[in-house]
């Protein structure tokens, strides 16, 4: 076989790949964009219009839900990073051999379990008759049942939990490749824990931090179960809006417009993250 493969084989292999990408990824998204730009004028008659995008900007509920989703996803990403970093450091630098692979595996285990089951676990923990409330009463910290479910804090706990793995794994991988002698040298040259972290460790770990943050942000933004099950009446998530428009109200044009907006927002933030740290999409995803 030649280095670049025979022509015919290339064509034969291109077939399935194009079939998959064009029919299931590209065309559906183009179609979603087209549907979002049309207005039902009568039975089976449509005209082009941006009215569904205007509705998004004029209806405060839509607009606020969108901003809430974005801001809370960014916060969840930041919290996940802060919580995961020491753990990743411990696994990559402080332990060796069996303990290390065991701890790494322990990080993966929860994610072999369905998201629905994990969220259900948090419901049992946090609800009024739940375990945490029971513990607080038993230990005397609370005098009556405490409801911890159905608020933004519960949503945040669930979001951070849901995407922890995708932060820990890239962090451990990059921190692992950081040579210990660099840190030793930095200390020898008079650095302290803080300056070593800021000037050696974080710049070195940046690829891992960025790829972790991107994945966690995407997962939070597109999350549906956590906000629906753990959130309260007024902690709407944008994916809930999309579901409502599609399935409950049967307003597909409006739902498609929301889908396009969410996709634009997520691509924009991913692009910004990559630009700020000067990395390429293909490398980060590897």
């Amino acid at each position: 076989m030649r280095a670049d493969g025979p022509r015919l084989a290339t064509w034969l292999l291109l077939g399935p790949a194009l079939l998959w990408l064009v029919l299931l990824i590209v065309l559906p998204h183009v179609d979603m964009l087209l549907v979002s730009l049309r207005l039902r004028a009568g039975f089976g008659q449509y005209q082009t219009s941006a009215v569904h995008y205007l509705a998004f900007f004029t209806e405060p509920l839509y607009w606020r839900t969108f901003m809430r989703t974005a801001v809370m996803s960014i916060l969840a990403t930041f919290l996940t990073l802060v919580i995961a970093f020491p753990v990743a450091w411990y696994i990559a630098k402080m332990v060796r051999g069996r303990v290390r692979s065991l701890l790494f595996l322990a990080c993966l285990v929860p994610f072999w379990v369905s998201e629905l089951v994990r969220t259900y676990g948090w419901m049992i923990l946090l609800r009024e008759t739940g375990v945490v409330s029971g513990f607080l009463q038993w230990s005397g910290l609370a005098s009556g049942p405490v409801e911890m479910l159905y608020n933004d804090v519960a949503v945040m706990v669930g979001l951070v939990y849901a995407s922890m793995l995708f932060m820990v794994v890239p962090l451990v991988t990059t921190l692992d490749s950081l040579d210990d002698s660099l840190i030793e040298a930095a200390y020898d040259l008079g650095g302290n824990a803080w300056s070593v972290l800021r000037e050696i460790v974080i710049p070195f770990a940046m690829p891992g931090i960025v790829s972790g943050c991107i994945v966690v942000f995407m997962l939070s933004l597109g999350n549906y179960l956590t906000p629906v099950l753990l959130g309260g009446k007024d902690s709407m998530w944008f994916t809930e809006q999309i579901f409502t428009q599609f399935i409950v109200r049967f307003n597909w044009e409006q739902g498609a417009a929301f889908g396009v907006l969410l996709l634009v927002l997520s691509s924009l933030i991913v692009w910004l993250g990559l630009k700020l740290t000067r990395q390429s999409f293909t490398e980060v995803m590897r």
């Binding site: 290339t10 291109l14 998959w20 379990v113």
Partner: protein, 283 residues
């Protein structure tokens, strides 16, 4: 702070305590879900009323265990069918993709590679609605223009399979490509020198080498399909896979039955995980 440097004992102890707390946080919801499957109560909540197997084996009418709940059993079967189809399709396409991207050069390759990665950054809900819109559009046109009713393009299991296949193929492609990249091409050349056709060489030399990655990708696809919720929710018709059934039960009001199903799910996925680890170790 690394082991080779003298650091304060207090700081190190604090880090160990933090890591312990972190793992408690990871384990808590899973352990709690499992424990409450055995609570002799109608609600998955405190107080603890003693141990029971009812939520697995009771046959009603007051309590129905998992093994007597027809709706749950049926949806488990539905999920297994869907996951099976998705796995076969995704691994097949992913293997072809791996050969395409690792071995062939063609114009527009890097653009196609980026395209191939896109499903990873498209939220599941959006992937679901875009396929729903596209498929319904085709079905509507076929109905209006040709008077053909294309039922499989309406919400239902075919669309669920296609929707999950759309993003799992990317994941499987990444797993299989990583292994193919490490393959020593001289083994294949040896087979060719010994008179094998390229096809025979690939079937007898390259594919056996890829087997751990193929099995690994298949397990990941099966598991992720079985547990998928977001994309499935948008595409599902009247036959509900397990996660959809569980979700609607959860909204009606949870009973320890759900814990029992969850516990079985956890056991199932850990079994698959152990299988995949054992398999990787053997080869």
């Amino acid at each position: 702070m690394i082991p080779t440097l003298p650091g304060s004992v207090g700081l190190r102890a604090a880090l160990v305590a933090y890591v312990a707390l972190f793992f408690a946080y990871l384990a808590a919801p899973l352990i709690i879900v499992g424990l409450f499957a055995f609570n002799d109560s109608r609600f998955p909540a405190l107080p603890w009323n003693g141990f029971t197997w009812d939520w697995f084996f009771a046959s009603g009418p007051e309590r129905t265990g998992v093994f007597h709940d027809r709706a749950i059993l049926r949806s488990i079967a539905t999920s297994a069918w869907v996951a099976g189809f998705v796995t076969v399709l995704a691994v097949l396409f992913a293997t072809l993709n791996a050969f395409l991207f690792e071995r062939h050069r063609f114009p527009g390759k890097s653009a196609l590679y980026v395209c191939m990665l896109l499903p990873l950054v498209i939220p599941g809900v959006i992937l679901g609605i875009s396929i729903l819109v596209f498929a319904s559009g085709i079905a509507n046109h076929a109905d209006e223009l040709l008077a053909i009713e294309l039922d499989f393009l309406r919400p239902g299991l075919v669309l669920v399979v296609l929707g999950q296949f759309a993003f799992l193929t990317t994941i499987a492609t990444l797993i299989i490509s990583a292994r193919l990249r490490k393959f020593d091409r001289s083994l294949e050349e040896a087979a060719l020198n010994l008179g094998a056709t390229p096809f025979v060489a690939i079937m007898t030399v390259t594919l056996p080498y890829l087997r751990p990655a193929l099995v690994g990708a298949a397990l990941v696809c099966f598991l992720m399909s079985f547990e998928n919720f977001n994309t499935t929710l948008m595409l599902v018709g009247s036959d509900a896979p397990l996660t959809i059934t569980l979700f609607s039960r959860l909204r009606e009001g949870a009973t320890p039955l759900l814990n029992a199903v969850s516990l079985l799910l956890m056991l199932g996925s850990s079994l698959l995980a152990m299988l995949s680890i054992a398999f990787q170790r053997k080869t």
